[in-house]
């Protein structure tokens, strides 16, 4: 499913400058699309704007072949899975129950889980390597485990597109690699994957295209080699960097200078 945003502008109440300023992007099916940018550059706001959880001051979003406004929330949740940065846990809940919520958009308010739903939930648990903690209370998980559980829930939605906000922020290297390979594989099978991340090197290595945001505007857009240029990254992040081609991966790598 294609994700398209056209000159999206979002201003939060009470804030002077827009959090997102005329940002356009187009994410084709079957691509892994990374969004980079420093803290506060509008990455999470872009996700909310594309998924309709923040009001647009101007601009338009199209998901698939329809404008965002034509989608009902439940219908949208059957096509797009989203993982936010944080999620409150006010009450104790088991891992399996949390992942099972990924089936809600398919089940609606009343229909009970079928064996097929349970199989999808189990597969999602396995894919994110959280099956053995299925009966544990979510509040007992580490930050990285909780993130993997929430990715599993998004997969249980059987989405055509995935939008993830720093999903690997607190993962160890093995689980980070596993999740990125999973996202890469999903994209290769035709899924649209939009990944917000701070991990420049992994974005360069796994993404097909990269959007760099700075102060709510598009600073650069293109393939990793097009975007990973020292003058672009230094201007956006405000820190001197050196870009090299990694011998092992063949992808550009960013080394912050001291």
């Amino acid at each position: 499913m294609r994700i398209e945003g056209e000159s999206l502008t979002v201003t939060y109440p009470g804030a002077g400058d827009p959090a997102l300023d005329t940002v356009s992007l187009r994410v084709e099916p079957g691509t892994l699309y990374a969004v980079l940018g420093p803290n506060g550059s509008g990455k999470s706001t872009l996700m909310r704007a594309l998924l309709g959880t923040v009001p647009l001051r101007s601009g338009a979003v199209r998901l698939g072949d329809r404008p965002l406004g034509d989608w009902r929330r439940r219908e949208l949740a059957r096509s797009v899975g989203a993982v936010t940065q944080h999620e409150p846990t006010a009450f104790p809940i088991r891992v399996r129950e949390l992942v099972a919520m990924g089936r809600y958009p398919h089940l609606g308010p009343l229909r009970p889980e079928t064996p097929r739903d349970r199989e999808i939930i189990r597969e999602a648990l396995v894919q994110c390597d959280v099956e053995r903690m299925a009966d544990r209370d979510v509040s007992t998980l580490s930050g990285g485990e909780h993130q993997r559980v929430r990715i599993a829930r998004a997969l249980a939605q059987e989405p055509k597109a995935l939008v993830l906000d720093e999903p690997t922020a607190s993962l160890d290297i093995r689980h980070e690699m596993e999740i990125l390979q999973l996202l890469r594989k999903s994209a290769d099978r035709g899924m649209t994957v939009l990944l917000i991340t701070h991990h420049l090197d992994l974005a360069a290595r796994f993404a097909d295209r990269i959007l760099v945001l700075g102060c709510g505007r598009v600073a650069a857009e293109g393939t990793p080699t097009e975007v990973f240029r020292e003058e672009i990254l230094e201007a956006v992040y405000g820190w001197p960097v050196e870009v090299r081609i990694d011998e092992i991966t063949g992808a550009p790598r960013v080394i912050p200078r001291s």
């Binding site: 998924l51 409150p88 846990t89 958009p105 089940l107 609606g108």
Partner: protein
């Protein structure tokens, strides 16, 4: 669903039957087992029949309905506000209802027509709910739960001042009856009040049960709830509105009964977990049982003097809740 929720459900159904029996069988006026059976079979002394069938039985059913309604409303508010301390009166409902009731009592109209007091209490609750929603909605187009909570507290404080003013200008007997009303009692029960409360609570309760999955999602945060297919603003408005109406209908007829709506959902959650599809119906059952038994205690502990039911719900509820909490933390 595992075995445990089913077991708890079966036990609660049995407890409901037992509570209905005990609440009808026992009271300040004692009956022998033989007398009681005779009354149920349609015989017995007419006055005894009146006691059992016209006083105790409606009282028991009112207890079931109001207890179920308060527990349901409490569970819904806790999910929507993602706050374990939320309770059915959180949106100023108790303050508004009490202000309405106290004004009627002070004007000496409580005895004039039987519906004045509950009518005024219900109207007061509705005014409070409308004010709270109005304040919250004027602050932000989207209903922010924190703003809603704050405006509930503010509106509650305003009505507390109204009550204080009216009581300060009233004589001692009025103050006493106002205080008693505010601590809650099922003594006003009749088949007519049962009918009115049922007309509010039963459809509203069924409606809330159908919102179980959206409520599951709301309790893990509004943004995620949206991404999992919930119409967040719609769900919030309708669930708040319906839960508030249930609480208002209850408080209008029985006064402000605390603790049921706070501790019952917690106790049930500790037993069966957080899934509202299980939590809501079982909380309703448990709330009903708890209130019927508390009312039995209120009638019989110091018979013939009846003590406010709020005293019993607090005395019994607090230690019971602490016990459950300790057990769950150890497990």
């Amino acid at each position: 669903m595992t075995l445990r929720p089913r077991l708890v459900a079966v036990l609660l159904v049995l407890a409901t039957v037992a509570a209905v029996w005990a609440g009808t069988r026992f009271g300040p006026v004692p009956f022998s087992g033989a007398q009681f059976r005779e009354i149920l079979m349609g015989g017995g002394d007419p006055l005894d029949r009146y006691f059992v069938l016209e006083l105790r039985l409606p009282r028991v059913f009112l207890g079931l309905l109001v207890g179920a309604g308060l527990a349901l409303a409490g569970a819904v508010f806790q999910a929507l506000l993602r706050n374990p301390l939320a309770e059915p009166y959180i949106l100023g409902i108790s303050g508004g209802a009490a202000a309405g009731a106290v004004i009627i009592l002070a004007l000496g109209l409580a005895g004039a027509a039987s519906w004045y007091l509950p009518g005024a209490a219900f109207a007061g609750a509705l005014v409070a709910i409308t004010l709270v929603f109005g304040v919250a909605a004027s602050a932000d187009r989207r209903l922010d739960v924190r703003v809603l909570l704050l405006s509930g507290v503010v509106v509650g404080a305003f009505f507390a001042a109204v009550i204080a003013l009216v009581l300060a200008l009233s004589d001692a007997p009025t103050v006493r009856s106002a205080v008693m009303w505010m601590m809650g009692s099922l003594s006003g029960a009749s088949w007519r009040t049962v009918g009115i409360v049922a007309a509010y609570t039963v459809p509203a309760g069924v409606f809330l049960l159908a919102l179980a999955r959206p409520l599951n999602l709301m309790s893990i945060g509004e943004e995620t709830a949206s991404y999992l297919g919930t119409n967040v603003e719609g769900t919030k408005r309708i669930a708040y509105g319906v839960a508030s109406l249930i609480a208002a209908a209850g408080v209008a007829f029985v006064g402000v009964i605390g603790f049921v709506g706070l501790i019952i959902p917690h106790a049930v959650r500790l037993l069966v977990g957080p899934d509202h599809r299980v939590l809501l119906p079982l909380s309703a059952l448990a709330g009903g049982v708890f209130l019927v038994l508390a009312d039995l205690g209120a009638r019989t502990a110091f018979a013939p003097t009846e003590i406010p039911i709020g005293v019993i719900t607090a005395f019994v509820g607090v230690p019971f809740f602490l016990l459950l909490l300790r057990r769950s933390l150890r497990a």
